[in-house]
């Protein structure tokens, strides 16, 4: 019974606060490793289709993709942006997000985090360069790339090109507001934040998740390699 209570407390706090840090909540962190607590947490993982990860002395919760209760689905993610976000626009935002992750975590050392922060203005410049490069490819070449990496390149490039950079009319989509919207979503997830309206910084949570979990996935490696070779 005690194990059940502790496990439920852990689950509750993670749902409310997003993580349990050893430094801030040592007793709870310690209880996470207890056998009877682990049994209950395993059952929770199975029922809710999620996973508890202990990384860098913090415990995080990752929902599985098919978890209807916990996972931020494609539709939910879309709703976090503008009310009329189309699928193609969402794929552009995915592309930007993948690129941001690549910029931060493409180091070759034990700690793959390469930069401390990324300026929004620099990000926009680099995306401009990337999408301009795609415009020089012919349809066949783009099609090949899209088939190879299963990423929408043509529509993303068109959408990006169609956006202005100015922030003058805040209800209109432009490059800066789109990136800010994306960062808002990430901020709500405690993954990244914007400082001084210009500096993108990752959180400890994202650093831990990327370096010790996501970067080991084949698909993530494939995309990062493609960015590195400048194919994507």
């Amino acid at each position: 019974m005690e194990g059940l209570q502790k496990a439920l407390k852990i689950f509750k706090i993670i749902l409310e606060e997003g993580e349990i840090k050893r430094q801030e909540n040592f007793s709870l962190y310690k209880e996470f490793a207890e056998d009877d607590v682990r049994i209950v947490l395993n059952a929770i993982e199975k029922e809710f289709s999620c996973r508890f990860l202990d990384l860098n002395e913090s415990i995080y919760l990752i929902p599985e993709i098919d978890s209807k209760t916990l996972n931020l689905s494609f539709k939910n993610f879309k709703d976090s942006f503008y009310t009329n976000t189309s699928n193609s626009e969402l794929y552009l935002y995915y592309y930007i997000f993948m690129y941001i992750l690549y910029e931060f975590y493409n180091g070759k050392n034990n700690n793959p985090k390469k930069i401390t922060f990324l300026k929004v203005s620099n990000l926009i410049d680099r995306l401009d360069d990337k999408f301009m490069k795609y415009e020089k490819l012919n349809s066949e070449e783009i099609q090949l790339l899209e088939e190879q990496f299963r990423v929408n390149i043509k529509t993303s490039a068109e959408l990006w090109r169609g956006m202005i950079i100015s922030q003058e009319q805040s209800n209109k989509k432009n490059k800066i507001t789109v990136i800010q919207k994306l960062l808002n979503v990430l901020s709500e997830q405690n993954l990244a934040r914007i400082f001084d309206d210009d500096e993108i910084r990752t959180t400890e949570k994202l650093d831990a998740l990327m370096s010790q979990f996501y970067l080991k996935m084949d698909r993530v490696r494939e995309i990062n390699s493609a960015f590195e070779r400048e194919e994507l």
Binding site: L61, M98, F195
Partner: protein
């Protein structure tokens, strides 16, 4: 390999640091042009010292705002430059983020290692930053890195220490080479240095006694650590030096005995050696006295500090800030009322979590339309229950119908408001259907969000969309719907513009849900539709 090239790469670290500032890679010529030659480099170094000062105080207050204030004062006072808030903000950001932090990326300086005939990559990082969270407020504070400290101290703080060591080194070399005349001059230099240290300590004691508030604990710390630490080290070296000089004296006596040197030469050298020994003795005595005085210095400082605190302890509350303003802002009553209503609402699961893997999932690829094919590509892999599929199709058909009506009426009138449209739909008998699920209003809001719908441009781009219908209103799906295309509205309408009006729309209507009639009242800002 030449010995003097040993550890060459370590020397080059300082060159790398200077280069990172002086040969600024992130050149913003607009900002740089505000300064005369070398002025900006001076400002950057002054800024580094400011950050060092703040780091030593350890108050975690060296944020961008503090840096902006410092630069504003510095430029106004010493460079006669008065910049406005926006310019100061821009300049501060440029200096800190672009120059000192190299836009967040590591600054690598490649130095040659001659021993291994390879290059060593030196990471240059003069400042570090940290995100501080305080009562839901986050800010970044800046600190000097160890490398930064090392560099700045070498430019002044340990200058005297190094000089002292250099003078000792020179004396040693002179004695080794029997240049006793030069050794005498060197020994006098050493006396000067130790007397300077003594003077610094005496001044500090005077300041402490005159006004303790003008002296801060960091000054005391630096004085104690640097001065006394140096003295301890130098004393050992001076003892060695004395031994060395006496050995030189003995050697000389031997040389005279074995007639290697002449007597005249011997007498001159002996006099000089005695002079050197006398001076070294003075230095050693002064050093010993200063080291012994350390305890006294500490006692004087702490006693004076203690006495000043006894008289200056005072606590103040700003009543207006602490009490009155808090009362004025007391607005959590509403939260409590909402909590009472909670049992009436459906339970809501805490927020959803993002699995980053989902971002990387294989995407459905949009394909360009070919002329002979239909506009819509059916994606038949989606597995939906037939009933559900039909329901969603029906919803989307209604969306198409409403959008067509809005466009046609707007085209007829050239410009029309939502209020007017409502009247028209009522007259046509279509209104109740259009507001069944508030569809008409939801579509109006979505169109307003877009702002301007460029119909002609949309069709000219020959875009094809995935026919993945959901309950949501998707304008692209509507525009490529067969029923919509058949109306050929694009022939007459290039663009549809939606703007806000000043007045409000208020309407009452009845809806039937599962056999139960509901009366709904809706109120929102009027919109205007315009075509061209």
């Amino acid at each position: 390999m030449n010995d003097f090239l040993k550890d060459f790469e370590k020397r080059m670290e300082w060159i790398g640091i200077v280069e990172s500032i002086v040969n600024r890679k992130g050149k913003n010529t607009q900002l740089e042009s505000l300064f005369k030659e070398n002025d900006l480099s001076n400002v950057i170094f002054a800024l580094l010292l400011f950050i060092m000062e703040r780091t030593l105080i350890e108050d975690d207050r060296c944020d961008m705002k503090a840096i902006q204030n410092f630069l504003k004062d510095l430029l106004a006072t010493y460079y006669l430059m008065v910049l406005d808030e926006a310019e100061i903000k821009k300049l501060s950001s440029y200096l800190v983020k672009d120059i000192l932090q190299n836009n967040g990326e590591p600054y690598i300086y490649k130095a040659k290692n001659y021993l291994e005939n390879s290059y060593k990559e030196i990471n240059i990082r003069l400042i570090t930053d940290k995100v501080i969270e305080n009562r839901n407020e986050r800010k970044i504070i800046y600190r000097l890195s160890n490398q930064g400290y090392d560099f700045l101290f070498r430019t002044r703080e340990v200058d005297e220490e190094i000089k002292f060591s250099i003078e000792q080194f020179k004396l040693k070399e002179y004695v080794k080479r029997k240049k006793f005349n030069s050794a005498v001059r060197q020994s006098l230099e050493l006396i000067t240095f130790v007397k300077q240290a003594k003077k610094r300590i005496e001044e500090f004691i005077l300041n402490v006694k005159e006004n303790i508030t003008k002296v801060n604990s960091d000054e005391y710390k630096i004085l104690v650590e640097s001065t006394y630490f140096i003295l301890e080290e130098e004393k050992e070296t001076m003892d060695d030096m004395l031994r060395m000089v006496r050995q030189a004296e003995d050697k000389m006596n031997e040389d005279l005995g074995s007639e290697i040197i002449e007597e005249k030469e011997f007498l001159k050298a002996k006099k000089e050696i005695e002079e050197v020994i006398k001076n070294i003795d003075i230095v050693i005595i002064e050093q010993r006295n200063l080291i012994n005085s350390r305890q006294d210095l500490g006692n004087i400082y702490l006693e004076t500090l203690k006495k000043s605190l006894e008289y200056s302890f005072e606590k103040r509350y700003d009543f207006e800030e602490k009490v009155l303003k808090e009362l004025e802002n007391y607005n959590n009553t509403f939260d409590k009322i909402i909590k009472l209503l909670n049992p009436l609402f459906l339970p809501k699961f805490p927020k959803k979590w993002l699995n980053i893997k989902g971002i990387y999932e294989n995407q459905f690829i949009f394909r360009p339309r070919e002329e002979s094919k239909e506009e819509i590509i059916d994606y038949s892999d989606i597995n939906l229950e037939l009933e559900e599929e039909l329901r969603i199709k029906k919803i989307n058909a209604k969306y198409v119908e409403i959008t067509i009506e809005i466009l046609e009426e707007t085209y007829k009138h050239k410009t029309i408001t939502l209020k007017e449209l409502i009247e028209i739909f009522k007259n046509k008998g279509r209104y109740n259907k259009f507001v069944e699920n508030r569809d008409l209003f939801m579509i109006a809001i979505k169109l307003y969000d877009i702002g301007e719908i460029r119909l002609k441009e949309f069709y000219n781009n020959k875009k094809t969309v995935l026919n993945f219908e959901t309950e949501e209103y998707d304008l692209e799906l509507v525009l490529t719907n067969k029923a919509f295309i058949e109306r050929n509205l694009v022939e007459n309408i290039s663009n549809l513009l939606i703007t806000k009006e000043v007045d409000e729309v208020r309407d009452k209507f009845e809806v039937d849900r599962n056999g139960i009639k509901f009366t709904e009242i809706i109120e929102f800002t009027n919109l205007r539709f315009e075509v061209n």
